[in-house]
């Protein structure tokens, strides 16, 4: 039995690094400190969906082949392609991503990561107006106003509040955990009362929820101490624990932010409500924002992928800029995959651009909408694809996938996921952060080491090793071609 502590969890952008994993005979048997998702991954990563050996599609059926053959076939596809896409990268380590850039450069392909379907608009927003942000510890120590906009950390980043924001003990701000418990207790009491009064369960639920989330801003918003505000189109789990929940009408976030910007600048609004929210309530919220000591906005795909896309982010950041004229205010995207930030970072230091990097002209080029994988697929321009550490088969629009499968598709993944099922060559890979060590970047761009807690199944290589082999093979194929050409001449 070995107990490994300070393990970094390879799931979401929180990158919690305090996980304690107990291993018995190369099996994870116990996980401490992690959230439900973390536990599920560590205990369940060895599912029956695991790919055991390299597969090649022959006559529409997967046939197991030796590694050498699969590597050669994959390299041949990439070396011969005119405009291949190398997509994914967000669930692997930076070491593999580094090789990825080199491979994309070597084959003159398009290097793109999953940001293109999640926080790509955030990156584009920052290219317009910059981004005032910080590391998460700064928020833990100082923030007294915390806003979650278009995201639901309680479900998607389960330990975000507990480790970094409302429910953590900072140097200058205390945890709001107790007041939240009181709130829950009060709600439970109310529920009891209602059931004593024989109110129907359905109405009960509604009444309890109302007691947690007020329509009118509660007094607490104007008091000392940490405040949690949630802005979303629906009352999410996080919204239920908030001090105040603003329900914005779908696709009206841009409007709401512009209204708040105007109010931060002390301008009067001529309307009674904006995006479904009465202006008089909004006024109290704005007062809370400008009077705080240190505020922060976290935003998710509710902003990046709803109407307005990167313009939403641009205006959210502009709002943060405006608020800095009154107090200290920061903003941060809630990055999803555990190392999507890392993919952006590694791509940027090697090529200058963080996603959608086109090497087809021999130098890196970036023009979102043109050099981004989704757009290339929809225009039907690519003639091969390598997908690694992601699952576009499950997330891309049908038309894009239809084009992708028209041409050779190489997939590298631990699991037989929907993309792998569509692949022509499928490589099994070891689980990064469980069977392979490496580096990943947290949503606030803090690098953390990933640990290897168990050995990978026999014969299964890491992403980095696989890519290196493919790269080497591509180079030797290209060298042979060049030689032949020289001989012919």
């Amino acid at each position: 039995v070995s107990v490994i502590n300070a393990v970094t969890c390879p799931i979401c952008g929180c990158l919690c690094d305090d996980i304690e994993v107990t291993v018995v005979e190369n099996e994870v048997v116990k996980v401490k400190n992690g959230c439900a998702v973390c536990e599920a991954k560590y205990l369940g990563y060895k599912s029956e969906h695991r790919i055991r050996q390299p597969l090649i599609r022959k006559d529409d059926k997967f046939v197991a082949v030796p590694m050498k053959e699969a590597i050669h076939k994959a390299a041949e596809i990439l070396a011969n392609a005119n405009y291949p896409i190398l997509y994914g990268w967000s669930s692997t380590n930076c070491e593999a991503q580094r090789v990825g850039v080199e491979l994309a450069e070597e084959v003159g392909g398009v290097l793109d990561n999953t940001a293109v379907v999640c926080h790509g608009p955030s990156l584009m927003g920052t290219q317009e107006v910059g981004i005032p942000t910080s590391t998460l510890g700064q928020i833990r120590h100082r923030a007294d106003v915390i806003i979650y906009w278009g995201c639901d950390p309680w479900s998607a980043h389960p330990r975000h509040l507990e480790r970094y924001t409302s429910f953590t003990e900072g140097r200058f701000e205390d945890s709001e955990w107790k007041s939240y418990l009181n709130k829950v207790k009060a709600a439970a009491g109310k529920k009891k009362l209602l059931s004593a009064q024989r109110v129907a369960p359905k109405q009960q639920r509604a009444a309890v929820a109302d007691s947690l989330v007020f329509n009118k801003p509660p007094e607490i918003l104007q008091k000392e101490g940490r405040k949690l505000i949630v802005i979303d189109v629906r009352k999410s789990m996080t919204a239920e624990m908030a001090d105040y929940f603003l329900k914005v009408e779908p696709n009206k976030d841009y409007e709401l932010m512009q209204a708040i910007r105007a109010m931060v600048k002390d301008e009067e609004l001529d309307v009674d409500q904006v995006a479904g929210i009465p202006v008089e309530y909004l006024k109290e919220v704005v007062d809370a924002l400008v009077n705080c000591k240190f505020g922060v906005i976290f935003f998710g795909m509710g902003l990046t992928q709803s109407a307005g896309k990167f313009r939403n982010i641009e205006v959210a950041i502009s709002l943060t800029r405006d608020l800095n004229m009154r107090t200290k205010f920061l903003i941060m995207p809630m990055r999803g995959h555990f190392n999507v930030s890392g993919a952006n970072i590694v791509f940027a230091w090697q090529s200058g651009y963080s996603f959608g990097v086109d090497f087809s002209l021999g130098y890196p080029r970036y023009n979102p909408g043109e050099t981004t994988s989704m757009d290339i697929l929809l225009r039907g321009e690519s003639d091969a694809a390598l997908v690694i550490a992601s699952d576009p088969g499950a997330t891309f629009p049908k038309r894009a996938i239809q084009h992708m499968v028209k041409h050779p598709l190489i997939v590298i993944d631990p699991h037989m996921n929907p993309t792998a099922m569509l692949g022509d060559i499928v490589f099994p890979s070891a689980f990064v952060g469980i069977e392979v060590e490496g580096t990943a970047y947290r949503m606030d761009n803090v690098p953390l080491p990933l640990k290897k807690v168990v050995e990978p199944p026999e014969g299964i290589l890491s992403d980095e090793e696989l890519l290196k082999k493919i790269l080497q093979e591509v180079r030797s194929i290209k060298a042979q071609k060049a030689q032949k050409k020289a001989e012919a001449a």
């Binding site: 930076c94 920052t126 290219q127 005032p132 910080s134 120590h141 940027a348």
Partner: protein, 564 residues
Amino acid sequence: MTEMLITNGFVFDPLNKINGEKMDVAIRDGKIVESVSDQNAKKIDATGLTVMPGAIDVHTHIAGGEVNTGRMIRPEDHVKDVVRKTALTRSGVGYSIPSTFVTGYRYSKMGYTTVMNPSMAPLGAKHTHEELNDIPLLDKATFPLLGDWWFVLENLQKGDLEGCARHIAWMMETTKGYAIKIVNPGGLESWGFGRNVHSIDDVVPNFDITPREIVCGLAKVNKMLNLPHTIHLHTNNLGIPGNFATTLETMKALESVPNDGKPICHITHVQFSSFAGDNWGNMRSAAEEISRYINNHNHMTFDMGQIIFTDTTTMTADGPFEFTLYQLSGHKWVNSDVETETSGGIIPMHYKRTSAVNATQWSIGLELALLVKDPWKIFMTTDHPNAGPFFKYPKIIAWLTSKKARMATLARCHKKAQKKSLLPSINRELSLYELAIMTRAGQAKALGLKGKGHLGVGADADVAIYNINPEILDIAKKYKTARKAFDSTAYTIKDGKIVVKDGEVVQNVDGRTLWLDVKTREQLKVDEEMKHKFKEYWTVEYENYPVFDHYVKVPEAITVKADV
């Protein structure tokens, strides 16, 4: 055993007092030696060429979180300067924030072999080292930002210098750093809540300590630890008109620290700290006041932070200053505070000849470099990319070595700046010898790099050979020819290997990363204390914080024995 002989060049090696003598330089296995056997050695005929030790940059932001965020937010900067892949070199982008590979190639082409990355948030140290690994052809080192680190503030506030020293030693080893970097001392912690300090005696909120105490305390700590470099200081009030008074006060405050006649502090990009006047309208140069002080005192060294007229990107740990720039420009603004440690910011900036302020800044940098009599005190930098991209150094060389060159540029500047400039009254033109001091020898000495910046026996075989024949070419008159020569070397030799020939990279070599392994007496005690307190301060675990050995591709640990 590989041997090389560079024959018959004009050698400029100020640390060994060699001023343009015609002589041979012998190399064996990456080191300079007395002589090599005639038959086996590869010969480089340097007849009619200038031979200098490889150049050193004491202050250049080339790697890490801040730099990379700059890359990510500025695609418009990259698109105008692209670099193709070749059989030997990687592709990338250039201009104000070049990609890592391009950074290495371009420095090497100018004859640089060692560079210092002066600003690393300890929490992001792994990131900095990962990028440094991807910068080829150069030896590198990086300075952790420690002036506003809570442990420093707390220990100094208690008056516990020894405690402070031990924590710094822990941090040097943990982050694989090389020197103590201090940026706007006290200001960065204040910026945590959106405030700043405005004089060296302002009290830092929540910590009851002043910038004066931080700077003097850390200068003493630096001495206790016997670190090779001095403290590396970015002064308070940087970039604000009238700030020369703060700079003078800081330098005077440091007189109280015992110095045995040696420098105890390096003030970096001093141009940005030498503004007179009280607003942007009447802002003028304080180069006279600052250089007078420098000429009369020996406890400090400096680098220029010379402005280049171009579109560049400012990036510094001085978060409040970047916020000031944001208020001035309204441009895209990045702020990046780091828990417990530091802050940071980025603003793109276009320095224009037609702006009175920018042109005055340009003039200040040159005035300082020329008015300071001793070239061992002030070194050539642009604080890359803050005042301009590093690959514009040949321009600065021309301005320093040729009055004609700088007057030609001044003539195209804003009239107001021209009128105020001291440059017309300065006739000094640096010689190649002085230039070698300002670009390598002086920097090596200030950094405490024993094997660098000279060509004496035992030194690293880092050599730059330029297409300049000092007997024929008058660099003061033919400054354009000289500029071209400094733009791309005839040869750059790194560790005895030719890496650049005629301005082209011909071989890929990984440089080393220098870091300090500081030995203190109570190392274990500090380890225990840090382990105990870690969760209170940071959001990562103690076990995951250090830069492990495998994060440094080619490490060169320098062991330092501390007095504590």
